[in-house]
Amino acid sequence: MIQFLNVSKTYEECRVALDRVTFELGRGEFGFLTGPSGAGKTTLLRLIYREALPDSGQVLIRGRNVGALPLSKVPFLRRRIGVVFQDCRLIDRKTVFENVGYLPRVLGIGLRDRRRLAYQALRQVGLAHRMRSFPPELSRGEQQRVAIARALINEPEILLADEPTGNLDPELSREVFRVFRQINATGTTVLAATHSPALITEFGGRVLVLDRGRLVGDQRLVGRHGPDYLQLVQEEPRRVARRGGP
């Protein structure tokens, strides 16, 4: 699904962010991206949804070179990728509902369906009761959860999450990753950057480790819940949803 072939990216002033990174994340895989601050995690994700272009090497999605995509096709690529940005990037002038429901709206989905979709997505992160708030009225953690809901609403083929739980308490963080696992179970490829070893060891999956732009680790980890974790989740969907509602 996602293929990096010898990808390098250098920002101005010779600041190397990625250095000959090569890996492949298969369809339906669940990947963690980790590494110290400034290792290049965000940069790697940005290359996938083409917020940035690699200096050398190729980024392939479903075998197609993202860098060679004409500009007019980029929105359609991005629609298939849900992104949770590290800095949330919510639109302050729009309500939570409008933020989350923007893409369905562009896709021509009617108001009632949009509301249902937004409600479902927000309930998964426990914020269904804040649909009419504006982002500046939310706590940072709440903002982050809205960003997560926005990434989920479109049932994307690929879900990229950049430190989605940096401002969430451990319990909520776990719930967010449970949701990610659920979505992953429906076939969505997930790549989540995180600093939390606890989450990685708990959930397991493919673990990519970056350090100063180099891919220094790539392993498959069995989570604390064992390979049957998914079933565990399926058994208790109510627990995930419980926080929702007004």
């Binding site: 949804y49 929105p75 359609f76 991005r78 992104v83 639109i91 893409l103 021509g108």
Partner: protein
């Protein structure tokens, strides 16, 4: 989505955005209003000035002085000749007494003198007013020459030198007026564009986010275009209202002064009001177009 739904989307988005950031919008609208008001005021003045000059121009006359005692036949022949000519709009007879009287009016200080004159020294004359369109007619000089040879005519004062000067004046006035007006409107448009470009800076991050979550340019730009259009049209309307208010304000006071009527004789015609409105809307739209276009290097 159907075209109607897309348009509805644009309009609704624009409406929500305008409502939520009305302070910024107000600043933009205000600038547009100011610019268009000033431009419109200039248009109003120059229109009235042009109208006045046109009036003067249409009043240019050919004066035919009759030989001292014209016979009745000669007189009638001359009058018929005048009335046959296509460029003649009207003929007014001025008797010798009337001529003297007018002389006294023009030179009040010399009025006493005329009383001393033994017999009327000023001859009877015919004031021939020409159709405004005729001044450029090539047949006119020949016709005037013929008129001069007529036995009843002592002298033809055709006012044409003066007319030509006046035409030059009108031309210069109009030219200067148009140039200045165009300059003002260009300045207004540029000001508006730069204001809207400035507001766009405010929404730069917003636009970037929309791009990142997969909205096409069409959907991103539509609402901004609608917003710019509405702002521009609102500014235009406000300017028109302001102009009308100014017109009503100046007019009553201006009746006293000679110049007042010159400056604001009539309000702008419908076409020009519409022009100002469209200009405002266009400026708003242009500004919006300028403001949401992709910056170089944006992916």
């Amino acid at each position: 989505m159907s075209l109607l739904r897309i348009l509805l989307f644009f309009v609704r988005e624009a409406y929500v955005n305008l409502r939520r950031s009305w302070r910024v919008s107000l600043l933009a609208v205000f600038t547009i209003t100011t610019s268009l008001f000033v431009g419109g005021l200039f248009l109003l003045l120059s229109e009235n000035l042009a109208r006045l000059l046109e009036e003067w121009r249409s009043q240019a006359k050919v004066i035919v002085y009759l030989s001292a005692p014209p016979s009745a036949d000669q007189r009638n022949d001359l009058l018929q000749k005048l009335e046959r000519a296509s460029w003649v709009e009207g003929v007014r007879e001025v008797s010798a007494e009337r001529a003297q009287q007018r002389f006294a009016e023009i030179f009040p200080s010399l009025a006493d003198l005329t009383l001393e004159w033994s017999e009327a020294p000023l001859p009877e004359s015919l004031e021939v007013s020409l159709a405004p369109a005729s001044s450029g007619d090539d047949g006119l000089p020949a016709w005037l020459a013929e008129l001069r040879r007529h036995p009843a005519v002592e002298l033809v004062d055709d006012d044409r030198d003066w007319l030509r000067q006046l035409e030059l004046l009108v031309g210069v006035f109009r030219g200067v007026g148009l140039t200045l007006g165009a300059l003002l409107l260009a300045a207004a448009t540029l000001t508006i564009a730069s204001v809207i470009r400035l507001t766009a800076y405010l929404y730069r991050d917003e636009i970037a986010v929309l791009r990142l979550i997969g909205a096409t340019e069409f959907y991103i730009r539509g609402p901004f275009y609608a917003e710019g259009l509405v702002q521009g049209a609102t500014g235009g309307l406000a300017a028109l209202a302001g102009l009308y208010a100014a017109y009503r304000l100046i007019r009553p006071q201006s009746d006293a002064a000679l110049l007042g009527t010159v400056l604001v004789g009539d309000f702008l015609p419908m076409a020009q009001l519409l022009f100002l409105l469209v200009l405002g809307a266009a400026a708003g739209l242009l500004g919006a177009i300028l403001s949401v276009r992709r910056e170089a290097g944006v992916l």
